[in-house]
Amino acid sequence: MSTNQTSHHQMTFVQKYIFSTDHKVIGMQYMITGLIMAFLGGFLAYGFRMQLAFPGEAIPLLGKMTAGQYNEFITMHGTIMIFWVAMPVLLAALGNLLIPIMIGADDMAFPTLNMISYWVFFLSTVVLIASFFVPGGAFAGGWTAYPPLSANGYTAHGWSVGLGGNLWIIAVALEFVAFLIGGINFIVTTFNMRAPGLTWFRLPMMVWMMLSAVLIFMFAVGPLIAGAAMLLLDRTVGTGFYNPAAGGDPILFQHMFWFFGHPEVYVILLPTIGVLAEVMTTFARKPIFGYKMIIYATIGAGFLSFVVWAHHQFIAGIDPRMATFFSITTIMISIPFSLIIFASIATLWKSSITLSTPMLFALGFIGEFLIGGVTGIYLGSSAFDIYVHDTYFVIAHFHYALIPTVFFGGLAAIYFWFPKFIGRMYNETLGKVHFWLTTISFNLVFFPLFFSGMAGEHRRIFDYSMWKSLMTPEIMNIRIISTLALIVLFLSQFIFVFNMIKSALSGPKAEKNPWKSNTLEWQADSPPPHGNFAQTPVVHRGPYEYSVPGRSEDYWPQTSAN
């Protein structure tokens, strides 16, 4: 382990901010990279939605879009939003910012390794963005990269053709390496560096969820790294792992991808459930409903998420008997998550709610995620999936599951911990304006897509004018409404950026515990110094002792002795 902390000399700017090994600075670096990539991903969505709403016309800022560009935009939109926004912001940024300070440690178990993990991630971001400007453009085979299309249809040509695709695979592989290193850091820190008295069942829900998310990611990503290596060999060296003519099998990659893909969406969801528990209990002044029940449900869902993956492939040519098995496991895995959502709703019973911005976003998450979860039952049923697979119904479903998780959950976390890590209060009214604009426009973008999906609008089509059944006035109007609402959604994020920057520079100073919350990070100064706590805190009780009968104050910090 690096021992430079012991000789605490005055660190230069580069050491303090660029190559810092402080978990808070690394968390901030992940957060900023993730948010910038969110705007890039959002801009790509603006691009292809304009093409869908006004086919063939020149798009402001982008000009006329060709079919190849369209495929490139949708592939990169999917890749960026999942791998370069959801995972860095929810997993790496919140993990790095919160885990050490929430368990009373001064830093991660391996600070230098933590810094390396960010810079490997930064390198992968550079490689991904470079793949846009490479001859032949970025990868255009869908973010799921199914061979043989992702292997250029096995027409042999070397590195030059499809360089964008090769860079895409290298960028995603580098990103997996970064999150594996980061993940190991999180696990060892949570196991070994908890403050005295902080037993497993006194840990805040955030730390539990972060730990299980990282564990699920680690065990699920293995086969896909092997699959990506085989795909890269297919594309460059000319091997035939997925080439049916050479005896390979395209279905193998689909299994490898979704064996990782489905646990991946739970890796993204779990940190948000952690944020939900922290934010809701603080603003409802009430303990989380069924702390242990939620933890056991999460562990159960973690194991179940490994036997669910083929519901993405019901009609992709897998054995119909397997589809029945996976349809049953898919319906079963909705049980632990409905339990978690029911428990969070039950937390509001007999509570005293203050609707500040983080609470609004957390409640917004529950309200919207219910729609995402509920439409999952349609898709989990294999028979109905025959009709709606690869249509806009699927797109609407997974956006209702992912956007509440990443945007509402992520923004709830950012607003909630902003006073702690920046040391200044954000502007409450701007926050509320941002919430209501985001919620309304988000629903306007995606709810209509359920209907166009039901009408049979299939996915990843550049121009629907060839299908009369999909060019009816209602469906055309749906596309236009959805695109205009997307523009409103995209622009309203700038209110958030303005609010964050203005408050960070000139917002009122934030006190140590503005929300009167119990967990450890609220006992440190804001912003917490390097090393977090002057004295290692000693923990006396669980994190959610709110409104304990017989106490004057309605909160009871974990560290206070009486």
């Binding site: 060709t66 079919a67 190849g68 495929n71 085979g141 199914y146 043989p148 299309l149 249809g153 099998d249 395209p250 409802a284 002044r285 989380i288 409903f289 069924g290 029940m293 009609i315 992709a316 589809a323 029945t324 049953i328 319906i331 049980i335 409905s338 029911f342 428990a343 709703i345 039950a346 937390t347 019973w349 007999k350 509570s351 005293s352 219910l370 729609i371 509920v374 039952i377 349609y378 049923s381 028979a383 109905f384 025959i386 009709y387 690869d390 209907f451 039901m454 009408a455 049979g456 299939h458 550049f462 121009d463 004018s465 060839m466 299908w467 009369k468 059944s469 959610y544 409104s547 309605d554």
Partner: protein, 344 residues
């Protein structure tokens, strides 16, 4: 929910009824959950002097309020599972006993090719009817298809039949359907298959049984063979270009807008489709009805290759171009041909 297209498939009712069952169950559960959720938010807003109650939810008297609704959700889920199983096993589980007609569907980059058994009713005999972009089927008969793909993944999707099945290179996936109503229904490709994924359209035309038998007897065309007389495209070319030249500029834009460039090229290289370079007026060897012949690429030839590409296929190229009837208007075809004249 008026967006579901009218169902013309024998097993379509399974999917529609399944849709309604899930909507009712899930809709009620959703409204109750969202209702309670909003009610709690409104009722338990912070009031001065009122403290929240310490409910940790770790005793049965409290957790039953969550576990019992959960048990109900589980029971309803498994009810949906049973209904799903019956529908799935009928549609995908196996093939019907009496398989009246066996066809082959081949997905290839950027069009669907259909092989129907000719009059002898046997596939892979020389009287097979091969059509690109148009599938003619009889109504009220169990049609069993062998679905395969030549190059990349495709997905044969007919919304009206409530049927979708991915075509995977290297496999022959067997499936069946029965059209209950004659008519013309759109077929789509639902799996991204490259630049031309957009134009991979084809149409399924369901005839009544007698009409289909007549169609097969005619060797796969509506009119009896040999009755064609004068070449229909020659007359179309004559009167189209009688009123003067088309607009080459508009033609240039149309060639990208209609995604022709997904397969063809302007620089003479070998792509999925033949090059446009020096096309107009040049000699081309084509195979039509099995024999090769030499043709001059004049306006009639270009019109035929736009509207009926399967009739004369340039030697060495797959019959992969989807017919553009109803997608490219005659005026647009005229502008495109005008532009092609300028590509040297």
């Amino acid at each position: 929910m008026g967006f579901l297209p009218p169902n013309v498939s024998s097993f379509g009712h399974h999917i529609d009824s399944l849709f309604w069952i899930i909507t009712i169950i899930v809709g009620v559960a959703f409204i109750i959950a969202e209702g309670i959720f909003l009610y709690f938010i409104i009722k338990y807003r912070k009031k001065d002097g009122v403290k929240a109650e310490y409910v940790a939810g770790n005793v049965w008297s409290q957790t039953k309020w969550v576990l019992i609704p959960l048990a109900i959700v589980i029971a309803l889920d498994f009810f949906v599972d049973i209904k799903t199983h019956t529908a799935w096993s009928e549609i995908k589980g196996g093939l019907p006993q009496n398989q009246d007609l066996k066809i082959r569907i081949t997905g290839q980059q950027f069009s669907w090719a259909y092989t129907l058994p000719g009059a002898d009713g046997q596939l892979d005999t020389d009287d097979d009817i091969k059509k690109t972009g148009e599938l003619h089927v009889p109504a009220d008969t169990n049609i069993v298809f062998d679905l395969e793909a030549k190059d990349v993944l495709h997905s044969w999707f007919v919304p009206a039949l409530r049927l979708k099945q991915d075509a995977v290179p290297g496999r022959t996936i067997r499936g069946w359907f029965k059209v209950t109503q004659p008519g013309s229904y759109e077929v789509m490709c639902a799996e991204i298959c490259g630049v031309g994924h957009t134009i991979m359209k084809s149409t399924m035309i369901a005839h009544s049984k007698e009409e289909f038998a007549q169609w097969v007897a005619n060797g796969g065309s509506d009119t009896a063979p040999g009755a064609g007389g004068a070449d229909p495209f020659a007359d179309m070319a004559k009167n189209l270009f009688a009123s003067g030249a088309g607009d080459a500029e508009k033609g240039k834009a149309l060639v990208t807008a209609k995604a022709c460039m997904a397969c063809h090229n302007l620089d003479g290289s070998k792509t999925v489709g033949p090059t446009y370079k020096g096309l107009f007026g040049s000699k081309r060897t084509v195979t039509a009805g099995g024999q090769d012949k030499e043709v001059v690429a004049d306006e009639a030839y270009l019109l035929r290759s736009i509207y009926e590409p399967g009739a004369e296929v340039v030697k060495g190229y797959p019959p992969a171009m989807p017919p553009q009837k109803g997608l490219v208007s005659e005026q647009e075809a005229k502008d495109i041909i005008e532009y092609l004249k300028t590509v040297k």
